[in-house]
Structures are given as structure tokens and as C-alpha cells.
Symmetry: C2
Subunit: 198 residues, 2 copies
């Protein structure tokens, strides 16, 4: 089993989110989606209220070019969002509701595409509702669950668990206590999960 830890605002999580399920399926590895928020982690670990890609501009400039190249490599559509980082809390709360649903993967991939391929504002009910509707899921049934107290607690619990796992960025693949950070480690992580299961 492999847990995929992501924040919808994270650029490299976009690339990984489009690839991880197919990689796991090909390897016969069970995948669990694990949304969390990077914001509290950056604040706690670095004392910043923004993405390190914004606070460290030379690093950020490279990331956008690197992301563009990666999207070409994996044949993923890419359009640099006007707003970065997106406010991802509502999308993450919906994902908390979705984690055990069969449409979770499609929802996660759809929200990431909305952010990084379509330049849509994923903080809004309208954009997230469109993604849900496109999957045949009724937004009016999901949003109340996502924004309920138990829904909010679930996202806080995932974010706390991420900190406990030693997470400091996104995306991550976790097998047991073994942490693989970054889109670049997906293949290694899936191979590790496959070995661990056998």
C-alpha cells in the first residue's frame, strides 16, 4: 500500500497526481489519497506564510521552467496559474470526503488540472462543483459534508499526521514509515511498496 500525500496548490503534486494511480495499478500496489495543507507546515517549520517558491525567488523561477519541461516530458497540459499558491483548503476538505470513494482519483486529477492546466480558481465552490458534476457527483451532497465539523477535523488530522511522518513539502509517497518526497521519487516509491508487499 502506498499513501500519496499532496496539497492541491503544489506544483510538483500536479505532475505526480496525474501519474501515481497508473503507476500503482501497473505494479499491483493499492493507493490511498492523502490530502493535507502545506501552509501550516511551512509556518511551523520555516516561519513563513507563503510558498518557499515565492519567498526564494531564484528557486521559484527555476521551478516554473522545470515544471514546464516536466509537463512536456509526461505530455501533460500546463498553463502557469495567475494565482500561486492557490487557496486549497476547500478542495482539500472535499478530497477528505472523497478518499474512500471510487471517484477520488478523478476528482484529485480534475482539481489539479483546473489549477495548473486551465488557470481556474480552485478555491471556489463553482470550480470544484464543476469538477464534481463532471464526474456525476452532486456538489450539493458533498460540500455540506466537506464543510462540516467532522470534515474540517479530518483535514486537520491529515495535516497533523503529515507532520508526524516528517513531511516538509509535497508531493510525498509513504509506505509504512518510509517517506519518499517529490514527483521524482514516484517510481522508487512504487517499487518499494511492491517489494514490501511481496
Amino acid at each position: 500500500m502506498l499513501d500519496f500525500w499532496f496539497d492541491f496548490a503544489s506544483t510538483y503534486s500536479y505532475v505526480a497526481s496525474q501519474r501515481v494511480e497508473a503507476l500503482c495499478e501497473a505494479a499491483g500496489v493499492k493507493l490511498r489519497w492523502r490530502p493535507f495543507l502545506l501552509g501550516p507546515i511551512f509556518t511551523s517549520q520555516l516561519g513563513i506564510k507563503d510558498s518557499p517558491f515565492n519567498t526564494w525567488p531564484v528557486r521559484g523561477q527555476y521551478m516554473w521552467r522545470d515544471l514546464e519541461r516536466l509537463c512536456e516530458k509526461y505530455e501533460l497540459p500546463f498553463k502557469r496559474p495567475e494565482l500561486f499558491p492557490a487557496r486549497s483548503i476547500l478542495a482539500a476538505r472535499v478530497a477528505c470526503v472523497a478518499v474512500d470513494k471510487p471517484w477520488c482519483g478523478d476528482f484529485v486529477r480534475g482539481v489539479f488540472r483546473a489549477n495548473f492546466a486551465l488557470n481556474k480558481d480552485i478555491s471556489t465552490h463553482a470550480v470544484l462543483g464543476d469538477v464534481l458534476s463532471s464526474l456525476g457527483v452532486d456538489p450539493a451532497q458533498i460540500f455540506p459534508l466537506a464543510e462540516s465539523d467532522p470534515g474540517k477535523r479530518q483535514l486537520r488530522a491529515f495535516t497533523d499526521e503529515a507532520q508526524t511522518l516528517g513531511i516538509f513539502g509535497a508531493p510525498n509517497a509513504v509506505i509504512g514509515k518510509e517517506l519518499f518526497f517529490g514527483q521524482d521519487r514516484l517510481e522508487d516509491a512504487v517499487a518499494w511498496a511492491k517489494r514490501s508487499a511481496s
Copy 2:
């Protein structure tokens, strides 16, 4: 042509340094070794006087585990150095003398192994002299060149050029103005260099 930019104190540069020449040779890509110092870059860009892996402990803890796994993957010896980051200025000055010599690759790989596989203090003339001697190169001829004013100026010039290229860490592979950061981008960079040459 591919320029490999590295700092002898950089952990991921160790892994990349052992792999880059063979990858370039297999692809028919000419390799140039480009030593520089990360210290002035971190100070200028982040205002810190230490490695980000030390100032951001959660990030650093992961890096050591990740490095260990990478060394297993590429079958490289690894022993965590007691001193990190190593003081790499003398080794970098010697590498500046070496860049056009046929023994440069062996010297670079040897110093990295001394740091990350043998836990030796690469800031010393003794350790660097042993590496040179093992290649049949006379340390007494090299150190005076490395520590001369032109030798020192060459390292400052490389470090300035690294900043101009948008470098913010190590290792890097640069083809023209195209920057590839990280050990994880070596294969992509070599493929880019091969395409650019054809």
C-alpha cells in the same frame, strides 16, 4: 556540451558526480566540470551561513535517508560524514586547476568519495594530496597553483557565473542557458544536450 556545476560539500552532488561522466560518454556528450561554492549563494539568496539541510532540520533528516537509499540504488558506498557541510574551498580551488586536465573526473569523484564514503576531512591538504597522489599527480605542483591569486580568482569567477545562471543549489547540469537542478535531472539534462548537439 554539458556543464556539471557542483560543490564538494553537497550531498546530492556526490551521487551525481559518480554518474555524470559515464552518462555523458554513453550519449556522446562533452562534459565540462564546473566547481563553485554554495556558501556565498546561500548567504546572498537566503541570508544563511549554513546548509539549508541544517537550518531546516526536518528537510535535512529526510535528505540523509534519501541519500542512503539513492546510494543503494546506484550501488555507491556511503558513510554519513561527521562534519557537514565540509569546508570545500581548497578542494574547489584544486578542481579549478584540474578542469582542463585528463584526471579531473577521477579527482572530483575521489574527493566526493573521501567526503561521503570514507568520512575524511576534505578541507585538508593531506586528504586532497592523497587523492592527487593516487592519480599519479604531484600535489606539490598543484597546490601552489590552486592557492595562487589567479587560482582563487577562477573559483570566484565560477561562483559568480553560477549565480548568473540562476543556480541556487547543487548539483546542476547546464546546457547553454538551460538549467537542470539536482541529481534527479541528470538523465533529462544529458538527453537535452544530445538533442541540442544534433
